[in-house]
């Protein structure tokens, strides 16, 4: 085997990538930017909210009960309660939400306190935007505050000697409680240094966007292969006694080498983000990235054999990378999608790879725990290599 041809093709690809400085942005800058920004967004959605949209309360009652209700809603990090200076109507409260200017508006009518005191139903109206996470939190908090009022009011109605102080004491410190624990990845009791489940949005976005941009850069380089074919470079190499196998191997290994460097740098830089690590199995980490990068390179070669023009290569490359990323769970955790979509994800290299990362970070699994997923990636690699080689041979012969 003439390894010189392979070496030349690999070197050529690496030089082409390095020669264009804008590639550095694509290789490292863009993935890091996505990781950080999307990590911030996921973190916010998960509860640690830097965003605090306003919830306006129109309190026309201005009594102790309405005051207690407003106090019960306060102190949440996902929204901030603003009590309007002037009393406003229900229509005004609703119009603010309709216009998208408030996540929710609460209207407490003038008779609220008086009705509660008389044992009559006290009306309360909430207008909210159900598509906002903060609005859902407001609704939950309001329903809990209303539940407390219901119990309190029922107690007063049912028994003249109802002891409100005792009620409050038991409400705040109930006898039956919930003890929640996320099983730590080190086994047994959670260790102080161990991650307990996903504690940071970066634990998803770090690996996900590394995988996505490795795949995307490979598929963007499909255009280079198509251009080489169109301008006759591949034919000239073929005439220079390079077999289709050698050419295909060189075109597969070049992007693989670049992809591995890209993955190593990105995974290393991700470690600087809060809460990031990859579990305790370097072997699983390395094998996953090698297999995924190889699958991506083989896929890119396959795609290249189906494209006749650089325009087609761009379109197909972008289509493939976007679909593989979205279907495979690189944009959002797979557990939020329906079961059949999860099954589709497992048939894709992206789904397998991101699952391995979740297993490594969340569960602390290594090579043995992830063996099935690693085997699936290896299987995909084998299929894609055979397909790419067969297509490529037909193309250059």
């Amino acid at each position: 085997m003439n390894t010189g041809v392979i070496q030349a093709l690999v070197t050529l690809h690496v030089r082409q990538v390095v020669a264009d400085r804008s590639n550095l942005f694509w290789l490292f800058g863009m993935p890091l930017m996505f990781t950080v920004l999307m990590g911030m967004i996921f973190g916010d959605m998960g509860g640690g909210a830097p965003e605090a949209p306003e919830v306006t309360v129109y309190d026309e009652s201005r009594g102790p009960a309405s005051g207690a209700l407003i106090a019960a809603l306060g102190g949440h990090e996902n929204y901030r309660i603003v009590v309007a200076d002037s009393a406003g109507s229900w229509d005004l409260a609703r119009s603010l939400v309709d216009a998208g200017r408030r996540t929710a508006s609460l209207h407490i009518p003038a008779a609220f306190d008086a009705n509660l005191a008389l044992g009559l139903p006290a009306a309360l109206s909430l207008a909210y935007d159900p598509d906002r996470a903060s609005a859902q939190t407001v609704r939950t908090a309001l329903e809990e505050a209303v539940l407390r009022l219901e119990f309190l009011s029922a107690g007063r109605r049912a028994e003249a000697g109802f002891d409100e102080a005792r009620f409050d004491s038991i409400w705040r410190d109930p006898r039956i409680t919930l003890e929640v624990r996320t099983l730590g990845r080190l086994g047994g009791e959670p260790q102080p240094s161990a991650l307990t489940g996903f504690t940071s949005g970066f634990q998803h976005t770090g690996p996900s966007y590394t995988l996505m941009f490795v795949l995307m850069f490979m598929l963007m380089s499909v255009r280079d292969v198509v251009t080489q074919r169109r301008n006759g470079t591949l034919r000239r190499l073929r005439l220079a006694a390079a077999s289709p196998w050698l050419l295909a191997t060189g075109l597969f290994l070049g992007p693989l080498a670049v992809g591995l460097v890209q993955a190593a740098v990105l995974l290393g830089l991700n470690l600087l983000l809060p809460g990031m690590d990859y579990g305790g199995s370097p072997g699983a980490l390395v094998l996953t990235m090698v297999l995924f990068t190889a699958v991506s390179s083989a896929l890119a070669l396959c795609v290249a054999t189906f494209c006749r023009t650089p325009g087609q290569a761009d379109g197909l490359g972008m289509t493939a990378s976007m679909l593989l990323a979205s279907l495979g769970g690189l944009w959002w955790p797979l557990e939020v999608v329906p079961g059949f979509m999860q099954k589709i994800a497992m048939a894709l290299p992206t789904g397998q790879a991101v699952t391995i990362f979740h297993n490594m970070i969340g569960r602390g699994w290594g090579l043995a725990g992830n063996a099935a997923h690693l085997a699936a990636l290896a299987g995909m690699l084998a299929v894609l290599l055979v397909l790419a080689a067969a297509r490529f041979r037909r193309l250059v012969d």
């Binding site: 264009d20 804008s22 590639n23 863009m30 911030m40 967004i41 916010d44 959605m45 830097p50 965003e51 605090a52 949209p53 609703r94 998208g100 509660l116 006290a122 009306a123 309360l124 909210y128 159900p130 598509d131 609704r139 939950t140 309001l142 329903e143 539940l147 009022l149 219901e150 119990f151 309190l152 029922a154 107690g155 049912a158 028994e159 002891d163 009620f167 409400w171 109930p174 006898r175 039956i176 409680t177 919930l178 003890e179 929640v180 624990r181 996320t182 099983l183 307990t196 489940g197 023009t309 087609q312 761009d314 972008m318 289509t319 976007m322 679909l323 557990e335 939020v336 297993n359 569960r363």
Partner: protein, 439 residues
């Protein structure tokens, strides 16, 4: 002359039909993926997959069956009973998202002792384990509230402390069932005390049940459409959000490709031939802009038509609003990348920078995630991206059902950006020597 230039560009674009199909299909495919992931096919409320849940405990068979059936029929959970070791294994392996550990002796729930219900969460779950916890917390709050109100109203009905009289305990004390039965049948003091307490408890419970009717608070919750909210969760067809976002995202790529056609024409030699034709000073740029705008309009028309047919996307109540927004968006995006095409030296450089800019703007401007759900700093940054205004305009129409009058300010912003970017492109073109500078 402009007409000729635009027709020429359309012919060039149409000559690579495979690329055209990919350009038109990709937004639809991605929209389908996103929509089915979060909203179910055909729109409507999101479908929630039953969460696999392990139950640990040893309740009586009847209670066990009822609990399991109730959880299963809720559609939220797929429960399985097991022991704690198996639950630990299932949770760690991710085969269930959480395990609920009931007290070993359910009598504890009816004793004065403090009781904890355990929840073990899957370390690999970022969402469903939290849902289990939240639902349990809400359910438990009712139990806790019930106990609090009852004991605050009738403290004597509470569990007797050590040394206090205990009518039920006294009645049931003894070493045989026969002894207990004799005490009941003979109307002993213990049986009478227990009967009286039992009656008091039933009276109190009946009084408490009555006290909840009518409800003290009549809470009305309405969503943005003014409809009374039934359940918790998004009420909008997810495609109303996703489809315009994806459409604009891919339109940015198409606009960049259209602007980058200058480089392709230069490399192919057609630009040189074109420049010797009797063109006005800015005709070439305006021609490219017009082509990109028509191309963008076509994409949006195909996308919205397919979105309406396949995903029941709302096109808004005002028949003029959507076309106006589509024209303004296409005009804005068509001009957005023209200055970049003039400032870059080749197609690859142009492609690389424009893709980076597109991805960044899409992320910050709300094409992937609703801007309202972003952190404050990103929300503020989003307003400086042109696509933010396009996303907002389409949201106003499809999600909020607004008409032309409501969207006019945002449409004005879009046309304003289009005019500014086109003027910038013309200024760069002239500054670089006009036709000669292009070569």
């Amino acid at each position: 002359m402009l007409r000729v230039l635009v027709i020429k560009d359309i012919r060039r674009w149409w000559s690579d039909r495979q690329a055209v199909i990919v350009t038109l299909l990709l937004p639809l495919m991605l929209t389908a993926v996103l929509g089915i992931s979060f909203g179910g096919f055909g729109g409507g409320a999101p479908e929630i997959e039953a969460i696999p849940l392990a139950l640990v405990g040893d309740p009586p068979a009847l209670l066990r069956e009822q609990l399991e059936r109730a959880l299963r029929e809720s559609g939220l959970f797929a429960p399985v009973w097991c022991d704690s070791a198996e639950a630990d294994r299932l949770v760690r392996k991710g085969e269930v998202r959480a395990a609920v550990l009931l007290p070993g002796d359910l009598q504890q729930l009816l004793s004065p002792e403090r009781v904890a219900i355990g929840v073990w969460k899957d370390p690999g779950s970022v969402l469903q384990a939290d849902i289990v916890e939240q639902i349990l917390r809400r359910g438990l709050k009712r139990v806790q509230g019930g106990e609090a109100v009852y004991l605050a109203a009738w403290p004597a009905d509470g569990f007797p402390a050590t040394g206090e009289p205990d009518p039920f305990g006294d009645l049931l004390a003894g070493d045989s069932l026969a002894a207990v039965w004799r005490r009941i049948r003979d109307g002993s003091a213990e049986a009478e005390a227990a009967r009286q307490k039992f009656e008091a408890i039933l009276d109190h419970q009946a009084a408490l049940i009555d006290a909840f009717d009518p409800p003290a608070v009549a809470l009305t919750v309405v969503d943005r459409t003014g409809q009374e909210a039934k359940g918790v969760g998004p009420s909008t067809n997810m495609f109303d959000y996703i489809l315009p976002g994806m459409g604009i995202f891919f339109l940015m790529f198409a606009a960049a490709a259209a602007a980058g056609d200058l480089h392709r024409e230069r490399a192919g030699g057609t630009l040189r031939r074109l420049l010797v034709a009797p063109l006005g000073s800015s005709d070439l740029l305006v021609g490219k802009w017009l082509f990109a705008m028509l191309n963008g309009l076509l994409q949006l028309v195909v996308l919205f038509a397919a979105g309406r047919l396949l995903f029941r996307m709302s096109l808004g109540p005002d028949p003029l609003a959507l076309p106006l927004a589509a024209v303004a968006t296409s005009a804005m995006l068509a001009s957005l990348f023209l200055p970049l095409a003039l400032l870059t030296s080749n197609e690859k450089q142009m492609g690389s920078i424009s893709t980076g800019v597109t991805l960044f703007m899409a992320m910050v401007g709300g094409n992937f995630i609703n801007v309202d759900q972003m952190p404050a700093v990103l929300q503020a940054a989003g307003r400086f991206t042109p696509n933010y205004w396009a996303n907002r305009t389409f949201n106003d129409i499809a999600v909020h059902g607004r008409g032309v009058g409501d969207i006019l300010p945002r449409v004005a912003v879009l046309f304003g950006i289009a005019a500014v970017m086109l003027a910038v492109a013309v200024a760069i073109y002239r500054r670089r020597g006009g036709k000669a500078g292009l070569l």
